[in-house]
Symmetry: C2
Subunit: 351 residues, 2 copies
C-alpha cells in the first residue's frame, strides 16, 4: 500500500515539517492557525488518512478481540467451536470490532501467545475457549489483568454464582435432563447413556442430566451406560454392548453426535429401532436425521460480548458494572427431534 | 490494560518531556547521549514496551492478513472453508502473522469492508475466497492496489497462465477425472454423475472431469447425469431417478458429499450396492464410510501465503518477484477410497 499518501507527502505539500503535521493530528492546539489550515488543506487534497495504528496509539484501543483457533478436528463434533467463531465474528462486526485469530499447541504455548498479544496491545480482550479444571490460562489472564471472558464455566475454580471472572456456558445438564424427560414422555422405560470417562467437566454434567432426567439410581446406572472416548466406532461398540444385554435400553442418550451416529449404526446392524439422541446438533446429525441437543452458539457469542462490552459499543466494562449484574450466563440448549434415519417425511427412503 | 507503563510514565521517571521519549524511540540520533541513556534506563526499569501500534506506524506493516468469515452453512460441505481457515491461521502463525476476520453479506458489502481495512491500514494483504465470474471484489482490490491472492481461480477473467492477480485453486477437473478412471479400473462400465446446474465454475469443471475420465460422449451424458441444487435430499432424488432407469449406472460420481450421501441413502433404499464417490472428504463422508475427493486445504493455505510473502517472512513480494515464477498454483486433489457404509474393516456392523 505504498501508494497511499503519507505524513511526508502532507508535509511536502503544506511546506511544513513532519513534526508539524504530527502536531496538527495529535495536538492541534499548539499549532498556529494559519499553519494548521495549510496542513488541513493538504490532508484533504491528498486524501491522507491518519493511520489506524496512530489512532490506536492515541486511544489505547485496538477494537479487536483475540480468539484461539482450535486445531482442526476431523471428527463429527469439531464444528461446534467453528460455529461459535462464526457467530462471534458477526456479532463483533455489528460493534465495529474484529476478531484476531491465534493458534496454540498447549496451555503453556497459549500463555506465550497471550503475552505477545498483551505486549503488542493487539487486542482489547480475549475470549478463552475449552476451559478445564485449574486452567493455568485463567490464572495468567487474571494476574496480568487482561480483560477476558471464558466460553466454558470455571470448572472447580470458584463459586459459580460469584465467579472470579466472566464466563458464558451452555447448561449441558439441563439439556440432557430435558431430553431424558422427553423420551420418558414418549414412552421410554429404560433409557441408556453413552458418555465419556470421568472426570470430564462437560461429560459428568451430561451424565448427571441423564440420571436425574430419567430417574435412574446410581446402582442401576452401570448396567445402562458405557463410558468411552469420543468417536463413531466407539459409539457403535458401546451401543452393541448395551443393546446385546439381557435387559437392553429402549432409548439412548449420547454425549455427542459421533457417539449417537455410532449407536444408530449399531441399532441398524441389529435390526433394532429405538430413539437415539445426540449432542451438538452437528451437520452430520441433520444429514442423517438424528435427534440432537442444540447448543445456542449465536446466543453464547452475543453473551460473551455483552459481558465484556455491555449491550453495545466496544469499551471494556469496568468491574463496578457487575455490582448488580451477574458476571456469567448459563444458556439453555434446545432439543431438536428428528425421526432417526429419515430425512424428511416426504423424502424418506422406503425402509 | 491500563496497568502497562506508558510513555508518560517513562517521561516522568526520566524527567524529560513526552516528546523526548518519543524521539528516543523513533529518532534516537537527534537526542543527546546523556538524555538518551536516562530514557533508556527508565524504559528498562519500568518494563515499558513500545506499543505495537507505534511500531506499525513506523514500519507501515500490520503483519495481519484479512479473510472473510463466511456465513455459517448448516450443510455437509460448509466445513471446507473452515478447514482452509484453520490451516491458514497455523501457517500465518509460523510467519508471526495473524488472521483478522471480517464478515460481509454481499460482494458490495465486502468491498465496503475491504475499503475500511485499507483506510485503517489494518491488514497487509487480503485472501479472497469464493471467487466467481466477473468478481467485482477482484476489480476493486486491483484498482486500489491492495495486495491479495484469491482462493479460487479467476473464472473467465483472464489467461490462467498469465493471470492479472495471484491465485490458488484445487483442480476439481483432475480430481473427478482421476476418480472416474479409478472406477473404470475397478470394473465400472456405466459411470453416472450428479452435479449442479450450469453455469457453475467449480460444477462445470467437475462435470467435465466426469465425461473425460469416464469417456462419455456428450450425447450420452444426459441419460447418465442429473443437475440439482446441493443437498442430501436432492442427491437422493437424483440418484433414485438415475438408478430406477432402464439401463442404470453401475457407479456414481457426485459433485459434493451431500449429494453422495443422498445417493448412498437412495442406493440403500433400493437395495443396491454400487460405488459412490463424493467431493470434499467432509467429516460426514468419513463418519459414513463414503469415498470422497479430498482437497489439499493445508497446501492451499501454505501456497496462498507463499505467493504473497515468498517462502518465509511477512513482507509482500514485489511484482518483479513473478517475472520468472508462476503467479498461481493449481493443486491436485486426492481420492480417499472407503468401503461405502463400512467404518473400518474390523468395525463394520454385521450387514
Amino acid at each position: 500500500m505504498g501508494t497511499l499518501p503519507t505524513v511526508d507527502d502532507v508535509a511536502r505539500v503544506a511546506q511544513v515539517s513532519r513534526q508539524t503535521v504530527s502536531n496538527v493530528l495529535n495536538t492541534p492546539a499548539i499549532v498556529k492557525e494559519a499553519t494548521r489550515s495549510r496542513v488541513e488543506a493538504a490532508i484533504s487534497e491528498l486524501g491522507y488518512r491518519p493511520h489506524a495504528s496512530a489512532r490506536r496509539l492515541r486511544t489505547q484501543k485496538s477494537s479487536t478481540i483475540g480468539v484461539r483457533m482450535e486445531a482442526f478436528k476431523d471428527g463429527v463434533s469439531g464444528a461446534v467451536l467453528d460455529r461459535f467463531l462464526h457467530a462471534l465474528t458477526e456479532h463483533a462486526d455489528a460493534r465495529d470490532m474484529r476478531i484476531l485469530l491465534y493458534t496454540a499447541t498447549s496451555p503453556e504455548h497459549e500463555i506465550e501467545q497471550l503475552a505477545r498479544l498483551r505486549d503488542g496491545a493487539d487486542v482489547d480482550a480475549i475470549i478463552l475457549t475449552a476451559t478445564f479444571h485449574n486452567d493455568p490460562r485463567i490464572a495468567w489472564l487474571t494476574d496480568n489483568r487482561m480483560p477476558f471472558v471464558t466460553f466454558g464455566r470455571p470448572w472447580g475454580l470458584n463459586d459459580m454464582d460469584d465467579p472470579s471472572h466472566l464466563w458464558v456456558d451452555v447448561d449441558g445438564y439441563a439439556g440432557v435432563r430435558d431430553a431424558a424427560r422427553h423420551l420418558t414422555a414418549e414412552g421410554a422405560r429404560r433409557i441408556g447413556f453413552i458418555g465419556w470417562p470421568s472426570p470430564s467437566g462437560t461429560g459428568d454434567e451430561r451424565r448427571r442430566g441423564w440420571t436425574d432426567g430419567a430417574g435412574i439410581a446410581e446402582a442401576d446406572a452401570a448396567d445402562l451406560s458405557r463410558a468411552t472416548t469420543d468417536g463413531v466406532p466407539q459409539g457403535q461398540r458401546a451401543a452393541l454392548e448395551l443393546l446385546s444385554g439381557d435387559n437392553p435400553p429402549d432409548a439412548l442418550l449420547c454425549a455427542s453426535d459421533s457417539l449417537a451416529l455410532g449407536a444408530s449404526l449399531a441399532a441398524s446392524a441389529l435390526g433394532r429401532e429405538l430413539p437415539i439422541i445426540g449432542y451438538d446438533n452437528t451437520p452430520v446429525a441433520a444429514a442423517m436425521g438424528l435427534s440432537s441437543i442444540d447448543q445456542p452458539l449465536a446466543e453464547a457469542a452475543a453473551s460473551a460480548l455483552e459481558l465484556l462490552f455491555g449491550p453495545s459499543g466496544s469499551n471494556v466494562l469496568p468491574a463496578e458494572a457487575f455490582n448488580e449484574e451477574p458476571k456469567h450466563r448459563l444458556l439453555a440448549p434446545r432439543l431438536v427431534v428428528r425421526r432417526s434415519g429419515h430425512l424428511a417425511p416426504d423424502e424418506t427412503p422406503g425402509t
